[in-house]
């Protein structure tokens, strides 16, 4: 367990830096995480496309989508997603999107 701090705020995260209460996610948090964890200075619309797709899917189904679905629905090849999020969809994008740590496929 630990605490992630940004601006003047802070939030509980686990050892891997995933937030513990998905409800406490915010766009600001996402931006901060993107910077500190993935060295993404500015989240572009393409980043947001991935982040929003993940959040919406999770809201609807309670799980992260499978990779094939993520690529199909965003229209991005996996390789490109790794360019967007160097740590990849799970460790990178899901973390920024505030999903629970995926045990599955992403």
């Amino acid at each position: 367990m630990g605490v992630y701090k940004w601006d003047d705020k802070q939030i509980e995260v686990d050892e891997d830096g995933f937030i513990q209460e998905p409800d406490q996610w915010s766009e600001e948090l996402a931006k901060a995480l993107a910077k500190s964890e993935e060295e993404i200075a500015d989240l572009t619309p393409e980043h947001w496309k991935v982040v929003n797709y993940l959040r919406n899917y999770y809201k609807q189904f309670g799980v992260a989508p499978m990779i094939r679905k993520l690529c199909k629905e965003t229209g991005f090849e996996l390789k490109y997603i790794y360019q967007l999020f160097p740590s990849g969809p799970a460790k990178g994008a899901c973390k920024i999107a505030g999903l629970p740590k995926p045990t599955g496929c992403v």
């Binding site: 050892e15 891997d16 995933f18 799980v63 499978m66 990779i67 094939r68 690529c71 996996l78 390789k79 790794y82 160097p86 740590s87 990849g88 969809p89 799970a90 460790k91 740590k101 995926p102 045990t103 599955g104 496929c105 992403v106």
Partner: protein
């Protein structure tokens, strides 16, 4: 007095002791020391002391590192973070001492100084480093020519038996196939994109010295079509040895296709009936050799019991020639990846998906015809389907 009395006991006895290795490492490495102490606690309490899960890694890859955190970080601070690397081994686990020493140096610098040669899938396991050391370790590994293996829902590190490098039974170039496939599917190995893990193992003959049939979604096993080569002279030598050709070889041939003439000391094989089980060749390697027309049988579906019970691979392609660049093989692999990825549920292995959807659907998807070699016996239940157009 030692603070690891239970572990110390395991330094006794003739089999090499992992405790001795841990102590060796502990002399230099606080992490190894804390690992021992935590393990001692587990021995005392009879439960493990690692937290659940962990997602860590290196940039650009989705797999290759297993995250691990102690559940007693205060007590064992040096293993509070203790992640392992899976490092892709050279095919057949051959090494020069030079590269081994380089590996050791890298690991002494960044990690616990403890390793596994090898993991059950085949990787070199570098056991335990804190999160901050992950990227630096990988950078150095890459500079000495070692890349990471698979973990998560990706292609796992393929492996192969010693094959043509040292075994006269090898009907295919196991090492080259393994190496070639590994290189071809780097993307699938390093960036999880499948519904679950996918394993490929390559054995040179039906002895299956990498246990491919038991634990790989795609098992590539060497075999032959033409007749077993008999060296009549060598048969005569065996006749004079302690081997009882009749009872030890001929009587145990599962297809009863061998005849031994004890007087003439000659052996005859009805190759049409032989199922290439290897038993006779195994017992008389100087006299009997696999045929010259060689290739592989491809089998699919093996896995451990989680979730629906273990499976052994079963025949998909009875015979495929295996020559570089393995075009036919790769075309098939890609069709399999595609169908599986398209149809599987989360954490559903290939074998489980075929079980759920039926071999028929699978065969049509990968463009193969049903042949009797795929089955041990036909169905006993009358619950079969007819496809569009088969019934007017």
């Amino acid at each position: 007095m030692s603070d690891t009395p239970l572990l110390d006991e395991l330094e006794n006895g003739p089999w090499p002791s992992f405790v001795t290795d841990m102590k060796e490492a502990a002399e230099k490495k606080p992490a190894a020391r804390d690992l021992m102490r935590q393990l001692e606690l587990s021995y005392k309490e009879r439960v493990g002391h690692w937290k659940h899960g962990g997602i860590v890694g290196v940039k650009g890859y989705g797999g290759g590192v297993i995250g691990r955190y102690s559940d007693q970080p205060a007590e064992f601070p040096n293993v509070a973070e203790f992640h392992t690397f899976r490092v892709n081994q050279p095919s057949g686990w051959f090494y020069t001492t030079k590269v081994l020493r380089q590996l050791c140096d890298v690991w002494d610098k960044h990690g616990s100084g403890l390793t596994n040669f090898h993991g059950a899938t085949g990787d070199i396991i570098l056991l335990g480093a804190p999160t901050s050391e992950l990227q630096p370790t990988f950078d150095e590994l890459s500079s000495i020519g070692f890349d990471l293996g698979g973990s998560g829902s990706d292609l796992r590190t393929p492996s192969a038996c010693v094959g043509p490098a040292r075994c006269e039974y090898a009907c295919i170039d196991t090492l080259d196939i393994c190496n070639d496939i590994t290189r071809t599917y780097q993307e699938q190995l390093h960036r999880p994109q499948f519904p679950y893990k996918f394993k490929i193992k390559v054995s040179g003959c039906p002895n299956d010295c990498v246990a491919a049939i038991a634990r790989s979604d795609l098992s590539i096993i060497g075999t032959w079509k033409s007749h077993i080569r008999i060296d009549a002279e060598a048969v005569k030598q065996y006749a004079g040895s302690s081997l009882d050709i009749q009872t030890e070889v001929v009587d145990l041939c599962p297809t009863h296709c061998m005849k031994y003439d004890a007087v003439a000391k000659t052996l005859a094989i009805d190759d049409a009936e032989c199922n290439r089980c290897m038993h006779c060749i195994n017992l008389m390697p100087k006299a009997l050799r696999p045929g010259v027309e060689r290739g592989a049988t491809l089998l699919v579906g093996a896995k451990a019991p989680i979730v629906q019970g273990a499976l052994l691979s079963w025949v998909l392609v009875p015979f495929m020639k295996m020559e570089p660049p393995y075009t036919e093989l790769k075309a098939l692999i890609e069709k399999i990846f595609d169908w599986w990825d398209e149809n599987a549920k989360m954490r559903e292995r290939l074998g489980e998906l075929i079980k759920r959807e039926g071999m028929g659907d699978f065969l049509r998807a990968v463009g193969l015809k049903p042949v009797p070699q795929m089955i041990m016996r036909p169905r006993a239940n009358p619950y079969f389907f007819w496809r569009d157009g088969e019934v007017k």
